[in-house]
Amino acid sequence: MSRIEGAKKVIEITKLNKWFGPFHVLKDVSLTVRDREIYVVCGPSGSGKSTLIRCINQLEHHQEGDIVVDGVEVEKKGKNQALIRRNIGMVFQSFNLFPHLTVLENCTLTPTLGLQTPRKEAEETAMRHLERVGIADQARKYPLQLSGGQQQRVAIARSLCTKPKIMLFDEPTSALDPEMIKEVLDVMVELAEDGMTMICVTHEMGFARQVADKVVFMDGGEIVESDTPEAFFANPRYDRTQAFLSHIL
């Protein structure tokens, strides 16, 4: 992984702890993501993987530990969340497109409203990203007129329109039919090859093999192990990892 070594650290998480009420979801999680690095996070449900990436853009607030995003320390009660979120794009399992806006309007809403880009420029950027995910011809339709795979690709384009430095993916293919999973993964692979820094919570191990720099396995709110995909799949060190892999591979 020579292209990564020594690159700038974009996300640095140290000793992160989070509780939902009395329930301890994240236990001393530490993770460092460098510029252009691709992380795949996997693990059984309830292991805290979604919560981990949701803490990074402050959809969840953590109680202990430090998160530094692109050199800015994330404050615990979400005081600087607007600043943090500006650099992070997020794609959700359930797409979460805005159903009352057209595909194009979904993509231009934040640039025109939050970042005050002129409408024309915002639309051009949006069309460029929509073309990139192969959906430019659907730009005038409403999200619910599209298939799941198309909707998820729009969601990716919408995130890209805010020019994020980091992309977070929260199980982006879990709600999709097999044929649609591939069209979304193809877009993600392309994004990875273009040098986007990405953290993907996913069980698509083919994707992990193909593009990941590191695969992280979580269980019970802890990072059990973290390794290059070659090493991770060839000889996982923990029995828990072995058991998990034997189920999903």
Binding site: R85, L113, S159
Partner: protein, 441 residues
């Protein structure tokens, strides 16, 4: 060797599934109970309609000088319309001076003309036009209705209303012809297409000029004053419910947002207000505002009785509307908030652009239902002595010439209420259909 998969072509549905005959069989004559119900329904409909027509049209008296004459002619088997006809102007305009009634007509006509651009094709500034009708029209209308002397501030507000009216039509015509709003058009015409700063200044000057001209017109314009005590009938009903409806929606939205706020003080105050006004009957609130409010005001100040009634209706309606809106907000999935947050949108951006449009759309039937309820609830103001449509109808039967004539005026009042409520309801159904076209699964 691979075989190429050929999907079967679709065939048209068999004739017992589609077509009017199939529809009849499916819906009206499916089996014996269904057929019996159809026949029974038809029988009831024919009898009731026949009875009403006989009473209201065929047996009715159309020409008489008092109720005695009517009774002598047909007894109670036919309606006695002359009384209603004689009172109809009062039922519509109340005791408004006869020679000034044109002001009411013109005032409502102005509102209709104001809103016509909303239904015209090629007009883009529809939101601004709609907002201007809500925010500026009332100033213009109140002078039409009230008249009387006006100070500088009052004149300025009326002039603002008049400029709004001029602007709406200028923009509507300009956008149809040139595709630009009138401000943009003037800016480009007098400052060049590229000079942004200069364009803005030209637009400001144009707006100021318009306002000054309107102020000039308004200051020369004077209408004799009509005390609100003379207002009544349908006119009064429309004024009270119109103000109630236009106030309740924005106020309800703010209260609903307040109740869901993370800030405990705001949330507590909103909840308190909503629960207080929701748990007291409207009649009680009207009474309280009418009799108790003057006690709290400093000696010598008096608030017009109509204003007291309107304030009471507005606050009551806002509390109900708040709960309707909150229901709509509750129905928006958490993912919408999260997506907006992850895109970096702030609270007000998320609320106005993402959440509210969806919440209001879901709640259109309930919101309009509330409007209809409010429209009908305004009949309660008769209890504090305002002569609204309902109270006027009752006055007919208390007139010495028409003593006891109650059914006929109430029948007419019911028809008037039905026309208004049905119009609102149809509009809401049309709106729902328009908004959901192509956006639902």
């Amino acid at each position: 060797m691979t075989i190429v998969f050929q999907p079967k072509p679709s065939r048209p549905a068999p004739s017992n599934v589609v077509g009017p005959a199939a529809w009849l069989r499916q819906n009206l004559f499916k089996d014996i109970p269904n057929t019996l119900m159809t026949i029974l329904g038809l029988y009831i409909a024919v009898t009731v309609v026949g009875w009403v027509l006989n009473w209201a049209v065929f047996n009715a008296v159309w020409d008489a000088d008092n109720r005695r004459e009517c009774l002598d002619m047909v007894g109670r088997s036919g309606a006695c319309w002359p009384g209603v006809a004689k009172w109809l102007p009062n039922m519509i305009y109340g005791l408004y001076p006869k020679d000034q009634v044109w002001r009411i007509n013109l005032g409502f006509l102005a509102l209709i003309v104001w809103m016509i651009p909303l239904w015209m094709g090629g007009v883009k500034s529809k939101v601004a036009i709609g907002l201007s009708a809500v925010l500026l029209y009332p100033f213009l209308a109140s002078y039409f209705f009230l008249g009387g002397s006006k100070g500088v501030v009052w004149s300025a507000l009326i002039a603002l209303g008049l400029s709004g009216f001029v602007w709406v039509w200028a923009t509507a015509i300009c956008e149809r012809v040139t595709g630009l709003s009138v401000g943009e058009w003037i800016g480009r015409r007098f400052a060049g297409a590229t000079e942004d700063v200069k364009q803005k200044r030209v637009r400001q000057i144009a707006a100021l000029l318009l306002f000054l001209v309107c102020y000039g017109v308004v200051s020369q314009w004077s209408l004799p004053g009509v005390r609100t005590q003379l207002w009544g009938g349908l006119f009064l009903t429309l004024v009270i419910s119109g103000i109630g409806i236009t106030f309740s929606l924005p106020a309800g939205i703010l209260l609903a947002l307040g109740r869901r706020s993370n800030m405990p003080v705001i949330s507590l105050l909103s909840t308190l207000f909503i629960e207080l006004f929701r748990s007291v009957p409207l009649i009680t609130i009207l009474f309280m505002f009418n009799t108790m409010l003057p006690l709290f005001l400093p000696e010598g100040t008096s608030v017009n009785q109509l204003v007291r009634a309107i304030v009471a209706v507005c606050l009551f309606a806002a509390a109900y509307m708040a709960e309707v809106i909150r229901g709509g907000l509750q129905a928006i999935p958490k993912g919408q908030y999260e997506a907006a947050a992850s895109l970096g949108l702030g609270y007000w951006q998320t609320t106005t652009q993402v959440i509210m449009p969806q919440a209001l759309k879901i709640m259109i039937p309930t919101i309009v239902g509330n409007f209809i309820g409010l429209f009908k609830d305004t009949t309660l103001v008769s209890i504090i002595g305002l002569f609204d449509l309902m109270n006027m109808a009752r006055a007919v039967g208390e007139d010495s010439d028409w003593l006891g004539l109650f059914i006929e005026p109430f029948f007419v009042v019911s028809l008037i209420y039905f026309v208004f409520c049905f119009a609102m309801s149809s509009y809401s159904i049309g709106l729902e259909r328009k908004l959901s076209a192509g956006r639902d699964r």
